[in-house]
């Protein structure tokens, strides 16, 4: 065979050629994404036209014509409105946000004590960031500090009344402080409680199963707003005088239990997606129930439902705004409350305040959403379809 002339078979690999100019670079990207067909081209033109029409006005309003500082409404009102701006002026009144910034962050928390929530915020960032970055070591210690030690420390810092700190009642909390603390507690409580409820609902023990089903279905059957309302309006009538349940505590319990019920259903979805073979495999290795769940089932199930979990977190973060119904003022509530300040009543105030509140909410929700996508990619083990 070796004598045969096999020269029609190449003996060395052909050299890689650069991609043709038509499929790489900016021009190709434009061709592929913007003007691939007649329909695409029309959509592109319409889109660009819309951006050109709207964007300059938004930038003008939000940045160029905006008022950044000022003592009262006159800086944000035109001459005809009793202010100093020329007639026909329209710009964002960031001066309002600026003047109310302390309230938007901390509510009516005493000014001289505001270092306490700030310190709690710094602690949260210091503990949360290394927790979120996978390459930082000592995750166990970090988690312990964040989930066990941090809430206790921040409780004493925020509430006070011990270690020489002045007591600050929760009625004075407000703004971002309420939004963040409510959602942090709800997140920390709801995930483990939700997992337990989901396992309970799939349990073979009838009593446990029934209790879990009743809890989940009952909680999911009532709107959060109803529970908050009942707790604030009806509860005081049944308590002896002087015994007042802290409003904040009521909201905290309500929001946490709600989130737990929803979380339970999300986790149950993940549990159902795990093939029976995984359970049987774990059984055949001789693992007990908790070992099986901890080592085999939960890691797979939770990974599958990361989008659902984060979705619940984001929903919960935004649901905290409902505490306005029991006269607790979260970020949105405090912004809206300040619209009633006659010193800042202008045509631009409400717009600017609401846009600022929306921006803060978006910042947190977008952050959570991006981090969940990153986690999904990192934990991706090749099941992607």
């Amino acid at each position: 065979m070796q004598e045969h002339d096999m020269s029609w078979v190449r003996t060395e690999m052909a050299l890689a050629q650069p991609a043709p100019a038509g499929v790489v670079g900016f021009g190709a990207w434009v061709r592929k994404n913007l003007i691939a067909s007649a329909g695409d081209t029309i959509l592109t033109i319409v889109g660009i036209a819309l951006v050109v029409m709207i964007l300059p006005q938004i930038i003008n309003w939000a940045f160029i014509d905006a008022v950044w500082t000022g003592p009262n409404r006159t800086v944000c009102a035109t001459v005809a409105q009793g202010g100093i701006q020329p007639d026909g002026w329209s710009g964002a009144c960031w001066a309002f946000v600026n003047a109310k910034f302390g309230q938007i962050m901390f509510g009516t928390y005493p000014v001289e004590e505001r270092w306490r929530p700030i310190l709690v915020g710094i602690l949260l960032v210091v503990l949360l960031l290394p927790m979120l970055i996978p390459s930082v070591p000592r995750k166990g210690l970090n988690a312990l500090l964040l989930i066990v030690v941090f809430p206790i420390v921040s409780f004493f810092l925020l509430v006070g009344g011990a270690f020489g700190l002045e007591h600050v009642e929760t009625a004075r909390w407000g703004g971002l402080l309420v939004t963040l603390s409510l959602s942090f507690v709800a997140i920390v409580v709801s995930l483990p409680l939700g997992i337990v409820l989901a396992l309970g609902r799939r349990s073979r023990m009838p009593v446990v199963k029934m209790l879990c089903v009743i809890f989940i279905e009952a909680v999911r059957g009532i709107p959060l707003i109803t529970v908050l309302f009942m707790a604030s309006v009806m509860l005081p009538l049944f308590l002896p005088p002087g015994v007042t349940f802290d409003k904040y505590l009521r909201a905290l319990i309500g929001v946490s239990l709600f989130a737990a019920a929803y979380m339970a259903e999300v986790v149950r979805g993940g549990l159902q997606a795990i093939p029976k073979g995984q359970y049987e495999g774990a059984d055949s290795l001789g693992l007990g129930y908790w070992q099986k769940m901890y080592l085999i089932v939960m890691p797979q199930a939770l990974k599958l439902v990361i989008p659902g979990i984060v979705n619940t977190f984001i929903g919960m973060f935004k649901d905290t705004s409902l505490v306005t119904i029991i006269s607790m003022f979260d970020l949105l509530g405090i912004v809206k409350q300040n619209f009633s300040d006659a010193n800042w009543a202008t045509a631009q105030t409400a717009r600017s305040g609401l846009i600022f509140a929306a921006f803060v909410f978006w910042l947190f929700c977008f952050g959570m959403s991006r981090y969940s996508m990153y986690t999904e990619r990192r934990l991706d083990t090749g099941h992607k379809r």
Binding site: N72, Q337, D341
Partner: protein
């Protein structure tokens, strides 16, 4: 017959016997259970329907409780009714009826006690605060006054840049704090929604409700509140765009106008009444939320905006061109706004009421924040008496406060006129004219009995 079949028959027989004995009992229990369930449902429904009016809600609880008691007694009578009452008062009959009745009675007894318990707990919340310590003692013990304010109404109670509550309603609470403690800062504010406000006062969560609340007979009697006076005479008014409706200077010229109004409010009803009474046509433009009404009016979707007159001035500030808009002089409803306290504590009621009168009397006598110290040595016996400078005066101590209480009030918030100007009048962005809120000596309605 196989073994299993015979076992099955025996089992069925046992079941039948058991069923014959237990079913009536079960049914009796079920009936009781259903009654109880219905009662709970009615209770919950009543609670939901009358949340804003919690005393009616209490009444319904009471009705449920009394119904339960009556039925319990009826069942007792029925039990004896079958065979008549025995000589010693006991009833004699046998069998199922007895079991059924006994169970029914027992169930109703349980229900009665649950209902009484609920009622008791609810009433306790109302009564015990009055029965135990007086409000003045409680307030002095805790060292501050808990004041219920609105969740934000320009000029009445709204947070300033530092988050402190400002406005007529907030200042009134400061005045009471000054009268009680000699220090206007010893007050804590609780923002309350319209639905929460009465419950908060009844349950003792707040000591004064100073929350732009209209004084009505229902609230004064059925709700268990006592209104102390009218700190602001408000009423529904109209605002028009003078550019769109030139030459209109009275609401009677508004025939055929498009009127922006918030739906589901008394405002909407008053509007209909007013136009009907004056035989005028109008075109209502109705919105659910206040923000929507504001936006629609600003965008020119209607010619007229109607709501409480004090609110119109606040809304005018947020319009594109406030100068074009005119608040018409007509007031078509009476909305006397004032602070309220719990019923059943006369001492506290008097302190709050006379704080209000002291503010008015101070204005009438020309006592201001600036001159109050000089006024103490005034030659006028009346001023001296009001300021507690008379020898052996007991006016303040009889009221339960110190004798220089008026001095403290005026030092803290000024007199009524100063309070008005600073919060809603010429010294504020709202620029509301005194109008009917002027003193009686100047043609207004504010009148206070003498302090002597």
């Amino acid at each position: 017959m196989t073994r299993s079949e015979s076992a099955g028959r025996i089992f069925a027989g046992i079941v039948r016997i058991c069923a014959r004995r237990t079913l009536p009992i079960l049914f009796a229990w079920l009936a009781n259970f259903l009654t109880l369930l219905a009662a709970i449902q009615a209770f919950a429904a009543a609670g939901f329907q009358t949340l804003s009016n919690s005393v009616i809600f209490l009444d319904l609880t009471g009705i449920i409780a009394f119904d339960a008691i009556r039925e319990w007694e009826a069942a007792r009578r029925l039990r004896c009714g079958f065979l008549g009452m025995g000589r010693n008062g006991s009833c004699v009959h046998t069998g199922k009826v007895r079991v059924y009745l006994k169970n029914r009675e027992k169930g109703l007894w349980v229900m009665k006690h649950i209902a009484i318990g609920i009622l008791g707990a609810a009433t306790l919340g109302l009564m015990a605060s009055a029965a135990s310590a007086t409000t003045l003692d409680t307030v002095k013990a805790k060292g501050f006054i808990q004041c219920g304010v609105s969740t934000g109404l320009a000029g009445f109670s709204a947070p300033d840049d530092k988050g402190d509550w400002q406005g007529i309603d907030a200042d009134f609470c400061r005045a009471v704090a000054a009268a009680v403690f000699g220090d206007g800062t010893k007050v804590k504010f609780t923002p309350l929604s319209a639905k929460e406000r009465f419950t908060a006062l009844q349950s003792g969560e707040v000591d004064i409700l100073s929350r732009n609340t209209t004084w009505t007979i229902n609230r004064d009697t059925a709700l268990g509140l006592n209104f102390v006076g009218t700190t602001y005479y408000d009423g529904q008014g109209f605002m028009i765009n003078a550019k769109k409706l030139p030459g209109v200077n009275s609401a009677l010229q508004l025939s055929g106008a498009a009127v922006c109004v918030q739906s589901g409010t008394t405002t909407e009803l008053n509007l209909a009444d007013y136009f009907k009474a004056n035989k005028m046509e109008y075109n209502p433009v109705v919105f659910e939320k206040l923000e929507e009404v504001n936006a629609a009016y600003d965008a020119g979707r209607c010619d007229v905006y109607t709501t409480d007159q004090s609110g119109l001035y606040g809304i005018r500030l947020t319009l594109g061109s406030p100068a074009d808009h005119v608040v018409l002089p007509e007031i078509i409803s009476k909305e006397p706004l004032g602070p309220a306290v719990r019923q059943g504590d006369d001492q506290w009621y008097h302190i709050v009421k006379w704080t209000y009168f002291a503010l008015l009397d101070a204005e009438e006598l020309g006592i201001t924040k600036a001159n109050v110290d000089e006024m103490k040595s005034s030659a006028s016996p009346e001023i001296k008496r009001v300021l507690g400078q008379e020898a052996d005066t007991k006016i303040g101590t009889d009221l339960g406060v110190s004798n220089d209480w008026v001095v403290n009030i005026v030092k803290a918030v000024g007199n009524y006129g100063e309070m008005f100007d600073r919060n809603v009048g010429s010294g504020s962005p709202l620029k509301i004219a005194r109008g009917i809120n002027a003193l009686w000596t100047k043609g207004g309605l504010q009148y206070a009995p003498p302090i002597r």
